[in-house]
Amino acid sequence: MSQNKNSPPRTAPRFSATFDVNTISEIQRAAATGIYDIRGAGTKRKLPHFDDLLFLGASVSRYPLEGYRERCDTDVVLGTRFAKKPIRLKTPVTIAGMSFGALSAQAKEALGRGASAVGTSTTTGDGGMTPEERGHSSTLVYQYLPSRYGMNPDDLRRADAIEVVVGQGAKPGGGGMLLGQKISPRVAKMRNLPEGIDQRSACRHPDWTGPDDLEIKIEELREITNWEKPIYVKVGASRPYYDVSLAVKAGADVIVLDGMQGGTAATQEVFIEHVGLPILSAIRSAVQALQDLGLHRQVQLIVSGGIRSGADMAKALALGADAVAIGTAALIALGDQSPDLAAEYAKLGTVPGAYDDWQEGRDPAGITTQDPELAARLDPILGGRRIANYLSVMTMEAQAIARACGKSHLHNLEPEDLVSLTMEAAAMTKIPLAGTDWYPGKGGF
């Protein structure tokens, strides 16, 4: 040791919890560029989630069903309230709305193939309906969005259901921004935009605002489609009790409730991380709204935002949802975040599992891109098989749990089949804390 024996020990470098590495890099980035960070994907912070709930399996007081042998049905009918032709799904997990534009045509086709193989639906997005997507989706939900890019009455009539999008979990109250890199000639043509420019999406619909006008808009859509199609209304979770009540009063057949873990093609990071409710905290009040109106299970509730597994699906259903929708999870099933792409992610300055620059259109997996070479990497047939596999696994997982709880249909799961692991989850869901019959607020404070 060459050091002076008498020098005192030095303080080890200490990092701030407040100014952590991500915060520091964001301040540095903001100062250097003068623009807020726009990225894809959903929130990355830790939030109360379905992991904070557990199921109570059957034993002596309740009797379980035999796995694979005894029936546990999974079918669901959506849109029974006013539509002449409700949607029938074989499994209560659907593919959420993601646009052609945000995703490549190959990715959209793969989602359609996979969903159709297991008897469920896919959803268009902010950019219209492609013939590939319609062709490969046995059941297709057509989104009706503020920007109305590609909105076409023929496609409206070709759809199996119509989803009026009011908001999205990643950014309730916000519009969108698809950066110029992804406005390829085909995307530009479908959206009537010049090529290569930033596409701004409105935050409000151009011709209605509020539930009283929404009611009139829903009636117009029904009149145009002969009252055949179920009308969904999609809201980002923020005031779910009121939003669900009002959407139902406005005449919705189905409510789609999207929590803040839901993904996006491109939004400000500040929006993704700081606006909205985690889906766990939103379901109960949405269900309460339906129950207060006497329409629970008559107006169906689809929840989304961070659904990853059959367990998440079973928990959402037990809390009162009729079905769930997946977006980010489906992209991962297609190949997003694959460790095989580590070298290519490194070129983009990231690693598998953290890739979120979906807005840039340079996705090495060929999913969130319009670059023909990158998009060609995704084989829609293989991709479709992966989606079908994943959806089947989710369904089997949910069935395994439901059978263990003694249910011959997933829809017979109920809140009393669950316990909360954390005080937060118990407070948000009114599911008692594990080992107790208590949740915060019960009995009053």
Binding site: R148, N152, P153, R157, N192, D198, R200, P206, E223
Partner: protein
């Protein structure tokens, strides 16, 4: 054309909007139709796909002739919000005033408004041509993507805010221009388009040369920090 000789009438005192729309949408519908006693009802003559001549004899509510394809609809009165919204083709002629969001997101066809149009006329328009004999309200042509908006009177605040490639023509005053909207030189091509539209709309008393042309300054086409305040 002999089929049109027979006068086909739907009276909303004795019939319903549902019957009206399903009749006009049916594949058998042809010729000319008159809708009596509209009285401000909504969704009149929406989703039409055949080249019918439809006259709405009075006031229409929200979304009259919404998503029109090929039909020619005349409203002999005022129209409520979103008249001819998302029209694809055909024509809609409002003889009175139109409320807000007239021609919203419309992709084709011709919308003519003899009176004034309210706020956000031609919002997010995607290829339609709109001719307003009177004036238009604030935020008209907001995010207008393509097509033509002709205003013979005045335009309200923030004309053409965030617009893309739509052409805006105004004869009177413009209260203010929206973000990224600027006056452009009237080219020969512009003038030819304008003349055709005025002719199609039956407007002979305003010469095309008396209009000014507005369009996108294209400063917001790709994000630039120096324009941040305009977003």
């Amino acid at each position: 054309m002999s089929a049109t000789l027979e006068k086909q009438v739907i009276d909303l005192h004795t019939s319903t909007v549902r019957v009206l729309n399903s009749t006009l949408q049916s594949e058998d519908a042809t010729g000319a139709w008159t809708i009596l006693h509209p009285e401000g009802r909504h969704s009149l003559a929406v989703g039409l796909t055949a080249p019918l001549d439809v006259t709405i004899d009075g006031q229409a509510g929200y979304y009259a002739a919404g998503m029109n394809q090929r039909a020619n609809v005349v409203i002999k009165g005022n129209a409520g919000p979103g008249v001819a919204e998302n029209m694809m083709s055909g024509s809609v002629h409002v003889e009175g005033n139109a409320s807000m969001a007239a021609g919203a997101t419309a992709q084709g066809g011709l919308l003519v408004i003899d009176g004034d149009a309210g706020a956000r006329c031609g919002i997010s328009m995607k290829g339609v041509s709109i001719v307003v004999r009177g004036s238009v309200g604030h935020m008209s042509g907001f995010m207008a993507q393509s097509g033509n908006l002709v205003v013979c009177g005045d335009a309200g605040e923030a004309l053409g805010d965030s617009l893309y490639e739509a052409r805006l023509f105004v004869r009177g005053t413009v209260k203010s221009l929206g973000a990224d909207c600027e006056e452009k030189k009237m080219t020969d091509e512009d003038l030819a388009i304008l003349k055709d539209l005025l002719k199609e709309a039956g407007i002979t008393d305003y010469p095309a040369e008396s209009f000014r042309r507005y369009g996108s300054a294209r400063r917001l086409y790709n994000f630039n920090v120096d324009n941040a305040s305009a977003y």
